[in-house]
């Protein structure tokens, strides 16, 4: 095995065999998976049904709420054509099975006031649902009162299918995918900062323990530095691969065991809203609407270009890691202990933090000038580009240009880093300033 191969093997092996690596590598995806499952499960869970008693002395509703036959209706309606006193509702045994009392006075036609009394606070979603159903029913009553037929009214009431689409039919802009892009860029940020700073810690460890003097009598400083950077980078990729595998297996498992019904293609079609013109009936439309709650599940299984995002994640992680890893190696070689490193780290941490902030700004405008520029500038491109990819606002030449600029910068950084590193690792007992560090470039 070549010397650099031996170094890579040691750097990789010593980290992968650590218990902390194993714990983080297995626990994090399980945690993510568990939280994801919880979110998806809750999105389709039946909440406790609220029993609504409607006191309707004027019989305006005619004892009916039309649109209640959805899968997970959060409330059920009961009618009494009489006035119910508040204190009676509160104490009387026969009303205890109702959670909410709503009084519809005949004057509602003019004063448009409806009052309800609950026993326990009702969730905003359920409240919205109840209000929506009662309003619909009363609107129908008003319509009939004004001489408009029920079917005419329902046609007026039906929402327009309002849709904005990209002029390029090949590009599908989806906001949730953008958010996923942002999540990926956060991950890249975390991965870069975690593993690049491990490079720094590794260099400091070798320097402070003075192993480095023994090592450089056997290998070139460049081999030592590159072996370390590559070895640690491979640890990062290993961790990412394991995460992807665990999360992937988890998602497939959940799909077949937990969300089998939801994943039925027929249900899916419905879930994605009314197809053009086929669902004129308000009843059906409302039913579809309520099912859209589990859009999250659809998004995770069908809406995200996982393959593209994962492969570009790997490429940009490698790029960003080499960029910052080289700089962190320089810092490690220039300081004598980890506590000394904080100050020297500032100029390297700033662009990284800045890229993260740009990333937050770019979510809402992935095609804007900030996004375009910072997806080309090498210190931020690994973090910003993934977001633009997810948003679908990147042309292939932009991607190639960004990667080319990044590769060229990495080359310059690594050549410079190797020169500084060579001198820095043998300087004991002093903390170098950036001025001195630049001087080492010429040694």
């Amino acid at each position: 095995m070549s010397k650099i191969g031996l170094i890579i093997k040691r750097e990789y092996g010593s980290r992968v065999r650590k218990k902390s690596f194993l714990v983080i590598t297995v626990l994090v995806p399980l945690l993510i998976g568990a939280l994801g499952f919880l979110a998806m499960w809750m999105s389709i869970q039946e909440t406790k049904k609220v029993n609504v008693l409607i006191s309707d002395p004027g019989n305006l509703c005619d004892g009916k709420i039309f649109i209640t036959d959805t899968v997970n209706a959060p409330a059920e309606f009961y009618f009494v054509n009489d006035v119910i006193a508040e204190d009676e509702f509160q104490v009387a045994d026969r009303y205890q099975r109702y959670d909410l009392l709503i009084g519809i006075q005949p004057e509602v036609i003019t004063n448009k006031a409806i009052k309800g009394l609950y026993r326990e606070k009702i969730s905003a979603n359920t409240e919205h649902y109840i209000r929506n159903r009662i309003e619909l029913r009363l609107e129908e009553y008003f319509a009939l009162d004004q001489g408009i037929t029920l079917s005419e009214y329902r046609r007026i009431r039906q929402e327009f299918n309002f849709k904005l689409e990209n002029i390029d039919p090949n590009i599908q802009d989806t906001t949730p995918a953008q958010i996923v892009g942002f999540i990926f860029s956060i991950f890249i940020f975390i991965f870069i900062i975690t593993y690049a700073s491990q490079v720094m810690r590794g260099v400091i460890e070798e320097k402070t323990s003075r192993v480095v003097e023994i090592l450089v009598s056997s290998v070139k400083p460049l081999q030592l530095m590159m072996g370390k950077i590559i070895g640690i980078g491979l640890v990062g990729l290993t961790q990412f691969a394991i995460w992807i595998a665990i999360i992937g297996v988890g998602l497939v498992f959940m799909r077949f065991f937990a969300f089998q019904d939801v994943m039925d293609p027929a249900v899916f079609a419905e879930m994605m809203g009314p197809a053009n013109g086929t669902q004129n009936d308000l009843l059906d439309q409302q039913a579809a609407q309520s099912l859209k709650d589990s859009e999250l599940i659809y998004l995770i299984y069908q809406g995200i270009p996982w393959g593209t995002l994962i492969s570009l994640f790997v490429i940009y992680f490698i790029g960003g890691y080499l960029f910052y890893g080289g700089l962190f190696a320089v810092i490690g070689s220039a300081v004598d202990s980890e506590t000394d490193s904080q100050q020297v780290m500032m100029p390297v941490m700033l662009p990284l933090m800045f890229s993260y902030l740009i990333g937050v700004m770019v979510i809402s405008n992935p095609g804007g000038p900030a996004a375009i520029w910072f997806s080309q500038i090498p210190f931020s491109s690994p973090i910003i580009m993934l977001q633009r990819i997810a948003a679908g606002t990147v042309s292939i030449w932009e991607l190639i240009l960004s990667l080319t600029i990044l590769a060229a910068t990495i080359f310059v950084i690594l050549v410079g880093a190797a020169k500084i590193y060579r001198t820095g690792i043998l300087m004991y007992g002093k903390k170098a300033s950036w001025k001195e560090i630049f001087k080492w470039l010429r040694y």
Partner: protein, 311 residues
């Protein structure tokens, strides 16, 4: 046979001369002492020989050929600033260093077993370095340095950190390697060990080579022609007998009528002349030449240099 030859090495750091025209050479089976006060440039020279840094001028030859990157496997280097990976197991660590020096896995494992058995430390295989004492770690470092059987062994302060027993073990190992033909470059401040084990020395001071040569020749050049004479008789009479051709440097009474006197010969007088002069007044019991110790040579050479600079 010459193993290492360093020719006219110069090295400058940001306007400060670290090494100025240094030339030394070591032979097969020889222990060569590289001496000098702190900051004289010894470590810089050693790093240049190890190709850790390059010289501004001058050349380094190994076995008569200009040194190449691959020659690193022929050199063993125990730095003064030495350490090990704290979290790594002893066995893995020695194996790692051996493989970096170019040994195959199989060969490295075989030799590790031999050395660990020799030092009776096979029970340390699975210990982490942080569990070892400083002396134990030093032994591991020594083994790592010699495991690949280098032609040239460079030891920077090899005895520091060892208790006398372990220092003796290491000294014996060094002598054994010398006997097998290894050329050893030893950098140390411990002048006693220089005197005991070095065949040749070089003294560097303020980046310049001040002394260079075989230990006996160097000592010869620092001879002061002083003799220690032990006698029976009166010190008073002894001193009176010495005239202008001798100088009484030092005297010491052993008991009532016996003493030792250090007498320096002046003006081309010989030991015979001295003896003739004092024999009539005292009974001579022994005569020995007083040779300068390495410690004295070291201090003298450096002070002469300082004096020269001041003029």
């Amino acid at each position: 046979m010459e193993v290492l030859r360093v020719e006219n090495i110069q090295k400058e750091y940001a306007g400060h001369k670290a090494l100025d025209d240094i030339s030394i050479s070591t032979k097969k089976g020889e222990i060569f002492g590289l001496l000098g006060p702190n900051g004289a440039g010894k470590t810089t020279l050693i790093r240049i020989i190890n190709q850790i840094i390059g010289p501004d001028k001058g050349k380094v030859y190994l076995d008569g050929k200009l040194i190449q990157r691959d020659d690193i496997g022929k050199i063993g280097y125990l730095p003064e600033e030495r350490g090990l990976y704290k979290k790594m197991k002893v066995y893995d660590q020695v194996l790692y260093f051996a493989r970096l020096k170019g040994l195959s896995k199989h060969e490295a494992k075989k030799r590790i077993n031999v050395w660990f058995e020799k030092f009776e430390i096979t029970s340390w295989y699975n210990k982490k370095v942080e569990e070892l004492s400083k002396g134990m770690a030093q032994k591991i470092q020594f083994i790592s340095t010699v495991l690949h059987e280098p032609e040239l062994l460079i030891l920077d302060e090899p005895f520091s950190g060892f208790d006398p027993i372990n220092a003796q073990i290491i000294r014996n190992e060094i002598m054994e390697l010398k006997a097998k033909g290894t050329s050893i470059l030893l950098s140390t401040h411990n002048m006693n060990s220089v005197e005991e084990i070095c065949d040749s020395i070089a003294l560097i001071n303020q980046s310049k080579l001040v002394l260079n040569g075989e230990l006996s020749t160097v000592k010869e050049s620092f001879r002061s022609h002083t003799y220690a004479i032990q006698f029976k008789g009166m010190m008073f009479g002894f001193a009176n007998a010495l005239f202008a051709g001798y100088s009484l440097e030092h005297s010491e009474q052993i008991d009532e009528d016996r003493a030792i006197a250090h007498v320096k010969l002046l003006k081309g007088n010989s030991l015979n002349d001295l003896l003739k002069t004092v024999m009539p007044v005292v009974d001579i019991e022994s005569v020995n030449e007083v040779l300068p110790s390495m410690n004295e040579i070291f201090i003298q050479a450096i002070q002469e240099k300082k004096g020269g600079n001041n003029e």
